[in-house]
């Protein structure tokens, strides 16, 4: 059932995304899409994968701002994803020494704090360009889990003692199911799903506002030619910083909701700070189309639809083991054959044919 929801959502999003369709077609499509997403928990007993797709999408929208619109490919936004989760946990936890704030206070607070951190880091890394910027951000992603574990700042005798648990696992409070007359609304199935949907819609709305604003055009100008933009009077430093902070904020938003559902916070490299999470946001934006409004939505739905389809088709041991290989191969294929993402078909007059792939392949050869 989840698969059907994902595919239907994909279809509606594609309709809504086409720039040359009339607004009278696109607006109902958008509305229908939202309605579909609102009723999804009623259609499906376990909305886990939809939650994953929606939060991944929010984070990918964040990446899209700095990587897609501004052209600064950040490989470190996973740091903000994780930090957002930890800061939210620090405020929302009911363990001794923590404030136990409710989620509608804790999560926005986390987003705000992470944005400030990103501003500070951005001032340093945004001086770099191209490869240097990318690898510097990669370094941020590697350093962040250690920063969280830093005894001097967050240890039992640190500056903000035990804020992140101080070596003991930090956790969010467990959310009970909601009892209403006549039914039990499972927390996982309903509350977290709707939180996830909220993050996705917030991200989409932010990007929609951005793409039509002066700020958005400034970012595109920076991407196309930063010197020319500077010459035309665009304050590139301010714009870039704002874009970077915005991308971190969306990453933190998605991350804190993911963390909330996950409940237990650990900094092992293979949890929230994993390379998979880091790469996923980029691949999603890439598949859909970087620098576009609907790209991340389409990309997220496609990626998760494929994963779900593969898992449904076969859960044999051998097959599952080769999934990682298939995923890496997919990245290569997308980069070679579809570098502008699926939006290439939806926005242009290009027909969907194999020749388009071949043309993409050889368009940038030596």
């Amino acid at each position: 059932m989840n698969l059907a929801v994902l595919c239907a959502g994909l279809l509606l999003a594609s309709v809504a995304a086409r720039p040359q369709s009339r607004a009278a077609v696109r607006r109902p499509a958008t509305v229908a899409l939202l309605l579909l997403m609102l009723v999804a928990p009623l259609l499906s007993t376990s909305t886990g994968i939809l939650f994953d797709a929606l939060t991944a999408m929010c984070i990918a929208y964040g990446w899209n701002v700095i990587g897609g619109f501004t052209g600064y490919a950040s490989f470190g936004n996973v740091a903000y994803l994780g930090l957002g989760a930890f800061v939210a946990a620090g405020f929302m936890s009911r363990q001794p020494g923590h404030l136990g704030l409710p989620w509608f206070v804790g999560i926005p607070l986390a987003v705000g704090i992470v944005s400030l951190v990103a501003l500070a880091i951005g001032l340093a890394v945004l001086r770099l360009r191209g490869h240097y910027f990318s690898i510097a951000t990669l370094g941020v992603a590697i350093a962040m889990p250690e920063f969280i574990n830093w005894d001097f700042a967050f240890g039992p005798d640190g500056l903000i003692p035990n804020f992140f648990g101080g070596g003991r696992p930090l956790n969010f409070p467990l959310v009970p199911d909601l009892q209403i007359p006549g039914a039990t609304l499972g927390a996982d199935r309903y509350l977290f799903y709707y939180l996830g949907l909220l993050t996705a819609v917030a991200a989409l709305a932010t990007t929609a506002l951005l793409s039509r604003s002066k700020f958005g055009y400034a970012l595109v100008a920076i991407r196309e030619n930063e010197e020319a933009a500077e010459a035309m009077g665009v304050n590139t430093t301010v714009m870039k910083s704002f874009a970077y902070v915005l991308s971190a904020a969306l990453a933190a938003l998605g991350g804190s909701v993911i963390g909330f559902k996950l409940t237990n916070m650990t900094t092992e490299a293979e949890a929230l700070f994993s390379t998979t999470n880091n790469l996923q946001m980029i691949v999603i934006a890439l598949i859909g189309g970087t620098g576009t409004l609907w790209g991340p939505w389409i990309g997220a739905f496609i990626l998760f639809a494929i994963q779900e389809a593969l898992r449904t088709l076969s859960s044999s041991d051998v097959f599952l083991q080769w999934q990682a290989v298939v995923f890496s191969f997919l990245i290569i294929v997308v980069v070679l054959f579809l570098p502008r993402g699926l939006m290439q078909f939806l926005r242009g007059r290009e027909r969907f044919s194999w020749r388009v792939f071949l043309r993409n392949l050889t368009a940038n050869r030596v």
Binding site: M1, N2, L3, A4, L6, C7, A8, L11, S14, V15, R18, Q20, S21, R22, V25, P28, A29, A32, T45, S46, G48, D52, P145, E146, N149, G167, R168, P169, N171, L174, V175, A187, D188, I258, L262, T263, N264, T266, T267, E268, A269, E270, A271, L272, S274, T276, N277, A305, A309, T312, L313, S315, S316, D317, L320, Q321, A324, F345, R351, F352
Partner: protein, 432 residues
């Protein structure tokens, strides 16, 4: 809505095809139910065997079959599978007179704790397992325990020893293994009881919750046993470049050197210590020496090294279960897998054994009834005493110390279960 010419007909057709097939596929997935994870050969076996059974009980787990703890995850899976096969060959699980076939379903969490949680959720809500088996490692177990609690699904685990798992007030998670703070207890007490006794200790730990818990308790135990802690450092998780801390430790000349971490680091430390000429009176590791890989990789260098162990084949328990004694378990495991079990395997099998006992005692498959039965368990198994305290962890089973002697593992502490005396002190590298 689809009538207008904004989508070229070929595109429309392909999209419609995708949507239709997707719905069909997901409907199929929902209808046929969970597939067994057994490879084709035993699928026919279990099909034939299930003819004599009144039903099937599905046990699920997310295990690290790939990733940084792939080796340990494989041991866990092998332990679970051995339990399943042995139980099925002996009439399955008896629930109030009805015999149930045991089936297992595993997903690979890739050593990623976030994935473990997602997969556990999938097992419970989509694959509709009856009971949950634990993953490998403290971090994944932590995450999965939250999922189990949310869904009121009884889980027994055998590979997450941090007490932090059990201090959350959860009711549905139980651990058959001894808690983290016992890992170094035997080692330190042994070191204090040798002659010449150890008076100084250096502790090097990985920076993850489980390892830090072990190391902190090691520090406290050292002080309590009259050892002075001359060096205590944490290294970044998964780091294997440890020459700097080893050089520092060497400078402090400790008699006992303890490491709390993982297999990969234990290998690196031994080799780098040899290269740097660091020869304390004894090496002790929390994880590593009990895994066969330790000796096959290090060969002669593995000798004299101590490890805290949850279980060894030398112990003498008279178990009230299908395996009876550690020696018998060792033999059965060796026959099935052509390699000897590590304690990770044994505790995974013990998980299954505990489940079986609880379900049979409860006489029902109701989650709450089984959960209560688990909480009241108290019996001796091939793995040792299985009884849970009010938090859910097994504080009643003691840990032992193993030492590699001449290419073989020997149980050397406590003296009442030891099969050999500890070789003490360790000869310096240069004279080996």
């Amino acid at each position: 809505m689809l009538g207008s010419p904004f989508l070229i007909s070929s595109q429309r057709r392909s999209m419609a095809a995708v949507l239709v097939s997707a719905t069909l596929v997901s409907a199929c997935g929902a209808a046929t139910g969970p597939a067994s994870s057994a490879p084709p050969a035993s699928a026919t076996q279990s099909a034939a065997a299930s003819i004599g059974f009144d039903g099937t009980l599905l046990f699920g787990a997310a295990i690290s079959l790939t990733g940084s703890t792939a080796k340990e995850g494989g041991l866990t899976r092998d332990g679970y599978e051995l339990w399943k096969e042995t139980t099925n060959a002996n009439g399955g699980i008896n629930v109030g007179g009805k015999h149930y076939l045991v089936a297992t379903k595993f997903y690979d969490d890739e050593s990623n704790a976030q994935k473990s949680a997602t997969l556990a959720d999938k097992l419970i809500n989509e694959d509709k397992i009856n009971f949950l088996l634990g993953p490998y490692g403290t971090a994944p177990t932590l995450q999965v325990s939250s999922v189990a609690e949310k869904n009121k699904m009884p889980m027994i685990e055998g590979n997450g020893a941090a007490e932090s798992i059990f201090s959350q007030g959860y009711q549905y998670t139980f651990g058959v293994l001894s808690p983290a703070k016992n890992y170094m207890k035997g080692l330190i007490e042994m070191a204090a009881a040798q002659s010449p006794r150890a008076t100084t200790v250096a502790i090097l730990t990985a920076d993850d919750p489980f390892s830090v818990e072990v190391a902190d308790s090691a520090r406290a135990l050292s002080v309590a046993n009259g050892l002075q802690v001359v060096y205590y450092a944490k290294y970044p998780n998964n780091a294997t470049e440890l020459r700097a801390p080893i050089t520092e430790a060497k400078r402090k000349a400790p008699e006992l050197f303890l490491n709390s971490g993982h297999l990969a680091e234990s290998l690196a430390i031994v080799q780098q210590a040899k290269e740097l000429g660091f020869s304390p009176t004894a090496f002790g590791f929390s994880v590593g020496p009990s895994i066969p890989d330790f000796q096959t990789t290090l060969k002669g260098d593995a000798n004299y090294i101590f490890g805290g162990s949850q279980w060894t084949a030398d112990l003498k328990f008279a178990g009230d279960d299908l395996f009876k004694t550690p020696a018998n378990y060792n033999a059965v495991y060796l026959k099935r897998y052509a390699y000897e079990p590590a304690y990770q395997s044994a505790q995974s099998t013990a998980v299954g054994v505990a489940f079986q006992k609880a379900i049979e005692k409860a006489g029902s498959l109701d989650a709450k009834a089984v959960r209560d039965a688990i909480a009241k368990l108290d019996f001796i198994s091939f793995y040792g005493q299985i009884k849970f305290d009010e938090r859910g962890i097994n504080i009643y089973k003691p840990m032992v110390v193993e030492q590699w002697q001449n290419g073989k593992k020997a149980t050397v502490w406590p003296p009442d279960v030891a099969t050999a005396k500890p070789l003490w002190p360790t000869p310096p590298w240069s004279s080996r």
